[in-house]
């Protein structure tokens, strides 16, 4: 059976599974639709949270990011897992005790203010749509690469599947499909990782393989990688602060942690378990299931970087002639994620530090034109200068997403493993997209309609409104996936920055500071939001030209826009505290509410 057929069968089977689950777990009330009737077992919720959280970016891009950043990749690993500690101890149990349906609902009730609720809805919608556009794009890319259908077709199929189970099943359908999707994606991620770990080090556990000796007797993997990279003019892999300063690494890590804890689609998962103590333990299960992937990723990153270098530069390190390069190189060249320009004219492909192409380093292809070696022709070769003591100039562009997608081919693994990667990537993207679409639709039907503009609608009407909102949200997400705005890459920093600087502090103070009142919360949220938005736009320019160069000399305290959420959060806390001190304290029944959410059993 060829790869194409295998991929179709694997993906087809996974879709049958998701739809089957959706039909079995239809939602029949708003309680089912918003929070799965609060009947989800903590372990199942842990799995669903893990799938909800691990997006196309975690599955496809993260290992590649780490493999090019080396040590600094740790800020993503720590940032995206450390948030669960905050979630488990500072937010989840108390919000579960509060026991309603949405995050804006908590903010509205705790701060006795419709205005606060609406501001929270705006933050939530902005955060979630930013995210979901990326997921839909991810689905399209996986389809187009592995099934050779146009990106648009892939996108429509993905939208259709999400539509079926999100609209039909609401949170209940999404929860159980996410459990299945977790199983698919973790299997798809770990199997190739174990294979390449055995190939390179004879140690099947990627977590140990990363710290093991290579089986060819050339010493420890990380030592060899450090040396190889330095010989090619790169900074070494394991030393800190080659790419970013210490303060910036701290700020980005903290912004990602706090942002993770403040993401509405993650928080709302903890509304679905039966009891407060289930919410606490469920965060532990979620992190366990995430840890399996997140501790595997650094090994995949290091091993695939090593594999890439040895395959391209050959055993003697002098490069491989284009005629003899393995087939995967040409496959990915065809999809535009790899490119080669023969700077020194020796017909050999050589990989080293520096950009092979001019401008932002990405190749511009001359359509389907082929050069003298049958390679794709590019119009923007760089100057071809050597970096440091490198033996040659870099001639290769490598998109970092390849590190996971092409890894099985680079390592020469069987076809069924490659098919599995495709199904896993789609599962990761769909599960996250569904979770995001649900929080968008419930904030529209529950917070805006039922809570603010049409308070008298019945449960049935509200359920119908929720379904329509989900349908509309999917269409908008699909549109954004088809026509990704030029600033999609820039706005990813927004989602975490905004969650960190707006929602997280307000929820936290709502639980831990009884004196915090509505004026404090509203002014804090708006300050955090405005500052973070402003800081990112100032340096990255969204819709408009950036005001200043995005370089460390211009940043406040040396903190890059990716870490701006931390400053925004600090401002939020400060402004909220000052304003609350100088305005009337919250009414007695609100102080009663705070006492109540702090303690599990009693009422």
């Amino acid at each position: 059976m060829d790869l194409q057929t295998l991929t179709y069968i694997t993906i087809g089977l996974s879709f049958v599974l998701y739809i089957g689950i959706a039909i079995w777990s239809r939602a029949s009330s708003t309680g089912d639709f918003y929070v799965a009737g609060k009947h989800v077992h903590p372990v199942a919720n842990g799995m669903a949270t893990a799938a909800d959280w691990m997006s196309a970016a975690s599955f496809i891009s993260m290992a590649g990011l780490i493999s090019f950043l080396g040590y600094e990749g740790g800020m993503y690993l720590m940032g995206w897992t450390g948030g669960y500690v905050l979630l488990a101890m500072l937010l989840a149990p108390y919000l579960r005790k509060f026991g309603k349906f949405t995050v804006p609902e908590f903010i509205g009730d705790r701060y006795y203010s419709q205005l606060a609720r609406v501001v929270a809805v705006i933050c939530l919608i902005f955060i979630s749509f930013t995210y979901v556009a990326g997921q839909m794009r991810g689905v399209g890319i996986v389809f187009s690469r592995f099934m050779e259908v146009p990106v648009e077709t892939g996108l429509f199929i993905g939208m259709g599947i999400v539509f079926i189970y999100a609209v039909l099943g609401g949170m209940k359908g999404i929860t159980y499909t996410q459990v299945a999707q977790y199983c698919v994606l973790i299997f798809a991620y770990t199997v190739p990782a174990v294979f390449i770990a055995i190939n390179a080090t004879d140690n099947p556990l990627p977590q140990l393989a990363l710290g093991s000796e290579l089986s060819d007797g050339s010493g420890y993997l990380l030592d060899k990688l450090d040396k190889t990279l330095m010989d090619l003019g790169f900074g070494d892999y394991t030393s800190p602060f080659n790419d970013k300063s210490m303060i910036d690494v701290c700020a980005i890590t903290l912004a990602l942690m706090v942002g993770t804890a403040g993401l509405p689609h993650v928080i709302v998962r903890f509304f679905t378990v039966p009891r407060v103590r289930d919410a606490r333990i469920s965060a532990g299960w979620a992190l366990l299931f995430i840890t399996i992937l997140y501790t595997t990723a650094p090994a995949v990153g290091a091993l695939s970087r090593m594999n890439l270098i040895t395959t391209v530069n050959g055993v003697d390190g002098s490069g491989t002639s284009y005629a003899a390069i393995p087939a995967w190189f040409k496959t990915w060249e065809n999809s535009g994620l790899l490119a080669w320009y023969d700077h020194n004219g020796d017909s050999k492909v050589q990989y080293a530090a520096g950009n092979a192409f001019a401008g932002n380093g990405k190749p511009v292809f001359e359509g389907e034109q082929r050069g003298p070696h049958r390679e794709r022709v590019t119009s923007n070769p760089g100057e071809g200068k050597r970096v440091g003591d490198a033996p040659f100039a870099n001639e290769v562009y490598v998109d970092r997403d390849i590190m996971v997608l092409a890894n099985p081919e680079i390592a020469g693994l069987p076809d069924w493993v490659i098919a599995l990667i495709a199904a896993g990537g789609i599962a990761a993207a769909l599960s996250t997209a569904a979770g995001l679409l649900l929080v968008i639709s419930s904030s529209v039907s529950h917070d805006l309609l039922k809570g603010t503009f049409a308070k008298n609608i019945s449960d049935r009407t509200e359920l119908m409104a929720g379904r329509i909102a989900a349908g509309v949200a999917i269409s908008i997400a699909g549109y954004l996936g088809l026509h990704p705005p030029a600033f999609v890459a820039q706005v990813v920093a927004f989602a975490f920055g905004l969650a960190a600087s707006s929602l997280f502090p307000v929820i936290l103070m709502g639980i831990f500071n009884k004196r915090m009142n509505k004026w404090g919360a509203i002014s804090g949220m708006l300050t955090g939001l405005t500052f973070t938005l402003g800081y990112i736009i100032y340096f990255k320019g969204v819709f408009i030209e950036p005001f200043a160069a995005n370089i460390p000399e211009n940043w406040i305290l040396g903190i890059s826009p990716e870490g701006a959420g931390v400053i925004g959060m600090a401002l939020n806390f400060t402004v909220a505290t000052i304003v609350a001190r100088n305005t009337a304290p919250p009414p007695p029944h609100i102080q009663q509410l705070v006492d109540d959410i702090r303690v599990p059993g009693s009422s």
Binding site: I66, Y71, G73, G74, M75, L77, M78, T81, G82, Y84, V85, A88, M89, L90, P93, Q207, L208, L210, G211, S212, E213, Y220, L221, L222, D223, T238, S239, P240, M246, V249, C250, T253, L254, R275, V276, R277, R280, I281, A283, G284, L287, L288, T291, Y294, T295, P298, D595, R598, V599, P600, G601, S602
Partner: protein, 84 residues
Amino acid sequence: METSKDAYWKANIRLVIGCLIVWFTVSFGCGILLVNFFNQFQVGGYKLGFWFAQQGSIFTFLVLIFFYAIRMNTLDRKYGVRED
């Protein structure tokens, strides 16, 4: 059996602060601020600081959450606020 909700809340806060000190120490401490110091030590093929940043802190977070959840179950019982 104590029933004071204030005492329960204070015990919770103490536990949370303890856990967050560990959380900060392994990630920001060992993994970032003192990474060069810890990188002097080698465990297997890992430099210790690098290991904290890419593996160790994640495992510690995991242990912390389970520790917190189990300790809180004990506190729930001790202060008589356990749900059915």
